[in-house]
Symmetry: C2
Subunit: 128 residues, 2 copies
Amino acid sequence: MEPEAVVNAFIAAVERRDLDGAIALLAEDVRYENVPIAPSVGRAAARATLEMVLLSAREVEWRVDRQVVSGQVVINERVDRFRFEGGWLELPVAGFFEVGDDGLIALWRDYFDMATYMNQLGELTGGG
Amino acid sequence: MEPEAVVNAFIAAVERRDLDGAIALLAEDVRYENVPIAPSVGRAAARATLEMVLLSAREVEWRVDRQVVSGQVVINERVDRFRFEGGWLELPVAGFFEVGDDGLIALWRDYFDMATYMNQLGELTGGG
């Protein structure tokens, strides 16, 4: 698969909340960085984070507003949407993906504002 | 100037803390968005924000770690560094620029984590 097709398939798996399908598109030693917090290395760590994020929501929709490809690099501007009992959480994200020759994502780095996420999470789940 | 040259010149002006030089590269009706806060429209608003950011620091260095060009769009991953009395503040940023045919920046959108900025600002300036 071409790099953009890999990223598109990854996002489609995320939206289905298909954790196995999403993780299968990450390299064994994937570097996964949510920029506001510490980066992680390896599928297991990525799986733990994704599981928490995806399975706590009732629906997941990652709207891609722009996507640019340069060689093995895929960059997108997204609005990551998560439906909770109280409504939809919407998080603007800039994502950078590096896809290896093996068709697996070797780097996934998301820039976003953590407070934008946490404040909505608190409102929509009654926590926070 | 090509889109990438415009963005490079803009960043160079920022690093010189040359507010007039930076603003001259923005379109009259530039859309300037710091994603964690409200977007602004127009040079005057961009100038007010940039002035506050640039002139409060003693030195400014925006390190570009990756830059990708696609037509009129320039995307970069940066570490925006600001030196205060207490030391350097370092902010990871994903920047998206759209450059018009007139060689001026029509859209400038930066994704970053506001708390990463504010926490360091508080530590380095004794405020916050």
